[in-house]
């Protein structure tokens, strides 16, 4: 039997519901008169499991999971990975260097734009956004060890 898109997503929701119910063991359920911190999450997990099951049951007519196309998948993964790397170093090397490096990666490596344009956008954006957000709006943005 070929798994269908809705069946796969419905099963994922059921698995999530089971996980929530399992993790919820740590919290007291209380009583009906005085529901505890575990009461509502359990109700919600039951409801999530039920809707997940219904999606699985109704999912027979949806397209086959194997036929699902992810043409932008690789690029999307690279974008998320680059943002994750930037987030990881944001507080240690500072806002301006991180943002400039991220833009150099996106424009220079991923999009292969002309080097001069890449440099101008990367430096210009990081400095201008620092001025607008950090100086004008007074949001304390992270500075690296060199004050950047």
């Amino acid at each position: 039997m070929q798994l269908r898109e809705d069946q796969a997503s419905g099963l994922t929701l059921v698995a999530l519901a089971l996980f929530v119910a399992w993790e919820n063991r740590a919290y007291p359920l209380g009583s009906l008169q005085e529901p505890g911190p575990g009461y509502t999450p359990l109700l919600i997990a039951i409801f999530l499991g039920l809707t997940g099951m219904l999606i699985v049951l109704r999912g027979g007519a949806s397209p086959r999971l194997a036929g699902m196309k992810w043409p932008e998948g690789t690029r999307a993964a690279v974008i998320i990975a680059a943002c994750a790397a930037a987030t990881y170093v944001l507080e240690s090397i500072g806002y301006r260097i991180t943002i400039a490096a991220l833009l150099v990666f996106f424009l220079g490596v991923l999009e292969r734009r002309p080097p001069l344009a890449v440099a101008a956008v990367a430096v210009g954006f990081s400095l201008l956004s620092w001025y607008l957000i950090g100086d004008v709006l007074r949001v304390p943005l992270p500075r690296g060890p060199w004050g950047w």
Binding site: L16, V20, T40, T51, C83, E91, F106, V121, I133, R138
Partner: protein, 509 residues
């Protein structure tokens, strides 16, 4: 309109006409127009990104600025739909059909003018509705206790599931997924920290901003990853903006109907502005004596949907202001914006903070006028933004998302949450799930849990409390009726209006 309303409105204008507030209303409208025009940046992303900047402002200015961005984005979204057949934001999908056809027929200027005029009329009529309805609803809501609030929220979820496009089951599942996310953090009644997995930052719960920016902003960029180049954009001249007398006459009815319909749909939870534009288009086509013109540049196909989505944007403020309940992610973020200042929207807000409510109402009149005056002459300037290649645009948007989320609480944890939610949002969209209910579930979870547990404590554990109180019973019955209506196509396999909405979404460019 009684004297009290006029007196309060005058109070509002005395607040809104202060130079500082006028300036922020102006900035909000401009920023909103720009974010509304940019594919991938809708009103929600724009408001979320500006949210941290409002923390240092007074709450009236914060509301005026964010409100300006919201309805400015509604105006801006139509420009790309008409000129490029790209909906700047989801509510403008229907405008693409006849708006772009008009551009191809050389009537882009008239389409833009009618769209702006319709948006202005609808926005203004919507504010009148908000002004009259919100105080009445708030006074009525003072009778609400925990059972009524529980019933209202449960009804809201069923209405949301029924009204949202696509599968009702999937919408409900997403709302429940949002409720699961809302369970993360400290339980207000017992002090237990739940589902934090020993991550200290999670004990405060998930903030609406990183979740919303991730779900809507980041996922959009991931979905469109790989898109190349800047599209060709028509650039109408100022003298071409004047619609003909026939076009004006043909637009009056659709603008009036769209305004009333949009406002009423806007009050209901869900993606109201999207649904309202779809319903308005359907009605206009159905009542037209020449339905064959629709799809080939019928001005009614622009006037109706554009008026409806703007009126719906204003209607969404009614439950937000009067009940403290958001009808969608945008109003949820706006509630977060005023709560930062220690103000909770709800039935007592209008009485306790009249300057805030009436100042906001008055600023919406001003904002709509500013948008009408600004948008038409400056449309040529604004469309230059659309000439920026997407390869330059999306890295900038990503950087703004990162800095915006970081700024909310100066924490990289929020940025991590945004990235994770972006990834989840991308996968969910690939599987055909609507993301708005997730954000709504997240915001409503604490409110629902608190009112449910208080109701049970009040009734000594008796669930019959929800059917013994007339207001709660009425709301639950309404919710169940809608649930059954929504489930009917599942049992009969008959197509309903949601399938038609799906069909339109698939046909969209």
């Amino acid at each position: 309109m009684d004297g009290n309303v006029i007196q309060n409105l005058l109070l509002g204008f005395s607040v809104a006409l202060q130079p500082e507030i006028l300036a922020y209303a102006f900035i909000g409208c401009i920023v909103g127009t720009l974010v509304g025009m940019m594919p991938g940046l809708g009103p929600l992303a724009g408001i979320s990104l500006l949210l941290p900047a409002t923390f240092g402002l007074n709450p009236i200015i914060a509301m005026v600025l964010l409100g300006g961005v919201y309805y400015g984005a509604m105006y801006g979204g139509s420009t790309t739909s008409i000129l490029m057949r790209i909906p700047g934001e989801a509510a403008s999908v229907m405008t693409c059909v006849d708006g772009y056809a008009m551009t191809q027929n050389g009537r882009a200027g008239a389409a833009l003018a009618i769209s702006a005029l319709g948006s202005f009329v609808a926005g203004t009529l919507g504010v009148v509705g908000l002004m009259l309805l919100a105080p009445t609803l708030a006074a009525w809501a003072l009778r609400f206790g925990p059972p009524e609030y529980t019933a209202l929220l449960v009804m809201g979820f069923f209405v949301l599931a029924y009204m949202s496009g696509g599968s009702m089951l999937k919408t409900l599942a997403m709302a429940v997924f949002g409720l699961v996310l809302g369970m993360i953090g400290i339980d207000a009644m017992s002090g237990y920290t739940r589902f934090s997995f020993d991550v200290l930052a999670l004990s405060d719960g998930l903030g609406i901003v990183p979740v919303a920016v991730g779900l809507f902003g980041i996922s959009e960029i991931l979905i469109t990853a790989g898109q190349k180049g800047a599209a060709r954009v028509a650039r109408p001249k100022l003298r071409e903006l004047m619609p003909s007398r026939t076009e004006l006459r043909q637009s009056l009815g659709p603008i009036g109907r769209g305004s009333v319909l949009g406002f009423l749909i806007g009050i209901i939870p869900g993606s109201a502005h999207i649904i309202s534009s779809f319903v308005s288009y359907g009605i206009e086509r159905r009542i037209s004596k020449t339905p064959e013109r629709f799809g080939n540049g019928a001005i009614e196909g622009v006037a109706g949907p554009e008026s409806a989505n703007n009126a719906a944007a204003t209607g969404a403020f009614v439950p937000m202001m009067a009940l403290g309940i958001p009808t969608g992610p945008v109003t949820a973020v706006m509630i977060a914006a005023v709560m930062v200042h220690g103000i909770s929207p709800g039935p007592t807000l209008i009485q306790q903070q009249p300057e805030l409510f009436w100042g906001f109402v008055a600023s919406m009149y001003i904002g709509n006028t500013v948008l009408l005056i600004l948008n038409l002459p400056m449309v040529g300037l604004f469309v230059n933004l659309l000439r920026i290649p997407y390869s330059y645009l999306y890295p900038g948007i990503l950087c703004f998302c990162i800095v915006g989320c970081y700024s909310v609480s100066n924490s990289v944890v929020d940025v991590w949450i945004m990235l994770v939610m972006g990834g989840i949002g991308y996968v969910l969209r690939k599987f055909g799930y609507d993301l708005a209910p997730v954000a709504l579930g997240l915001v409503l979870a604490p409110m629902l849990e608190l009112s449910l547990r208080q109701s049970l404590a009040l009734s000594a554990g008796d669930y019959l409390i929800f059917v013994q109180r007339p207001i709660a019973l009425t709301m639950l019955v309404l919710g169940v009726i809608l649930l059954l209506l929504g489930l009917k196509p599942l049992l009969t396999k008959k197509k309903d209006w949601r399938d038609q909405l799906d069909q339109v979404a698939e046909e969209k460019p």
